[in-house]
């Protein structure tokens, strides 16, 4: 009973997600199909990559992750089939799987064979249904080994993941993601910061004093900003019971500078 996760920018209103579920359950009725998100902003591959990146590693070996945020559908971009630490990834080769492909201990990336599509032939605009769900159905039903569905590739797409710049006096990073609470999640990994340092943090023109990184949002009063180590191990800027994104007028991509005080 393999687990199949679905991430997309389809929304649910148009029936596209329902069609994918129908294709999968028609082929593998005992598969456990579970939704991750379907409200990824339309064609925002980076947002899709964040969502998949945050959760894929918690699923068990054998899980099949389908992610369809696919502005290039029907063009010559390949369909990707990869195995990462015993889990499978199926979707467009456009970087939506950047995190698992970068984080896993064992990574084998191939591309879906052109012959893998529903018998009616693939549409040129809905590979989610005609190719990706179909391939997942074959895999989940145990009808084919994953390598039989795919062929080698020379290269595959990863989104750029620029790291922060460290020097003696400061760390310059970026906002990777703004979450639903308006928390600013940065690319600064807390493990790599000098222990016991004290900080001033520049964000969107403002300065937040963070002599110590806080433990959690409730460490400061309501409406106050707080710099903490978030649940992904990265430095995060939040406003307790508020939105740091709104308070600092800052969005994905903004620069964050941590100045060392001591």
């Amino acid at each position: 009973m393999p687990i199949i996760t679905l991430t997309s920018d389809f929304g649910t209103l148009d029936g596209y997600v329902g069609a994918m579920k129908g294709v999968i359950l028609g082929m593998a009725p005992t598969a456990v199909v579970t939704d991750i998100a379907h409200d990824i902003p339309a064609q925002d591959v980076e947002a899709g990559a964040w969502c998949v990146g945050l959760c894929w590693a918690y699923f068990p070996v054998g899980t099949i992750h389908i992610a369809v945020v696919d502005p290039g559908v029907g063009t010559d971009r390949a369909g990707l089939l990869a195995c990462v630490d015993g889990q499978y990834l199926i979707g467009p080769d456009n970087g939506v799987f950047t995190q698992p492909l970068s984080q896993a201990k064992t990574v084998e990336v191939r591309k879906l064979r052109d012959s893998i599509h529903r018998s009616t032939g693939p549409s040129t605009t809905f590979h989610g249904r005609d190719i990706f769900a179909y391939a997942a159905g074959l895999l989940a039903a145990g009808e084919a080994d994953w390598r039989a569905l795919s062929e080698p590739v020379d290269a595959y797409t990863l989104l750029a993941q620029p790291g922060p710049a460290y020097d003696e006096t400061e760390v310059r990073g970026r906002v990777l993601h703004v979450d639903r609470y308006g928390n600013l999640i940065t690319n600064i990994v807390a493990d790599r910061l000098p222990p016991d340092a004290q900080w001033m943090v520049r964000v969107g023109g403002a300065t937040v004093s963070a002599p110590d990184l806080s433990r959690t949002y409730g460490d400061v009063g309501e409406g106050s900003p707080v710099v903490l180590i978030g649940s992904t191990g990265r430095v995060e800027i939040a406003v307790h019971a508020g939105s740091a994104s709104r308070v600092f007028s800052v969005d994905r991509g903004a620069e964050i500078v941590m100045k060392k005080l001591v």
Copy 2:
């Protein structure tokens, strides 16, 4: 382990969908309950019908589709129980199942018996929980044949589905649905167009040259309009990396005219 799909305009916030899932899983704990959509605009039967229509056919024989977009709840509109190509439909008799009832090869439509409701008696405002989920639970648990739950009807409701008008020089159709990307999906079935014709398409006061129907969105530059055959086999007007609905100020129901050039 029957599959039960849920489509509604309930949203998820109010707990109504949770109540339906509880009723079903309480009666048929091994049923596979899967969400299609719960964000159908409130009481928009046409939008619900689109969503169900786009996905029902991909599910396997034995699937039970519940759709509740039900402005007439508690009035004398009947509850419908139908079998279409071996799948079951349960919901209000108001046209929300227009597509499967029109498209399936074998269609048998009946209405739910008045006696089919939770033992506490049906509320007059929440048939989704008290009647439709309950009926699906009985069916999924194998406690009753579908005909035992229902009785014959003389007539049932279908939404009007006006087709396009063809003549020598043009095809006049309508926008059936605007999807999340702002693509305009029309009622013009591509199979019925003369092969090798070339077209000018009038949409919302503008004219789009479409000498050939395109293959996919990426066939044109970003921001450019494109006329293509969409994944439902219908003519679709899109804007690459943009929203045709916004660009042309066009919504569901708008007229689309394809003028033949050659």
Copy 3:
């Protein structure tokens, strides 16, 4: 195959819900994980409590309900593990489970032991993944009795649930919840009203004549207000094919006065 329900204010975009599902399915791959809602307004415990309250009772014995609306994450608020009528509740001890803890026939409330967390140690900002999903996984996998995961508590949190005030001539209640249709659901339980009374209802400065409580929305013309007994057994003020919340400019918490006419 235990059922696990998920209610949260996480949204789905950030991958937090996906991470919880991964943790659960990694520990208990045959668990049936089903979504109740993830669009609870951020940190609105009252809204989460409404949603859980409306649906929990329909689920079968053995179901595990996880609800995470948790503004106090990482502070010293306890994690709650309770058994209510044979179902389990897991989440922060902040009132999100007020309804089942108040409504169930048998209620035993304990708190999660500090030792119950993923082996990597709990983050201070994501107990949903590190503690609540983990505890549910242990329970669902049958690896521990619920009491072994928890310890007694002296007290636990319930949200205030002020009842209406009755006197000879009127009932003064409040709006408990505004649903997606703009229906105003009050704290006035219909069973407790004198039978055959006739009413004038004051809502947001306006007066609605309701000589008899109506059966359903369609009992009045489109755009007309209607006072009826809703699907939770409470008095509800609606506008047929419209939004009572908008028409009367009334939101959660507003006062509703029913004046007896006869």
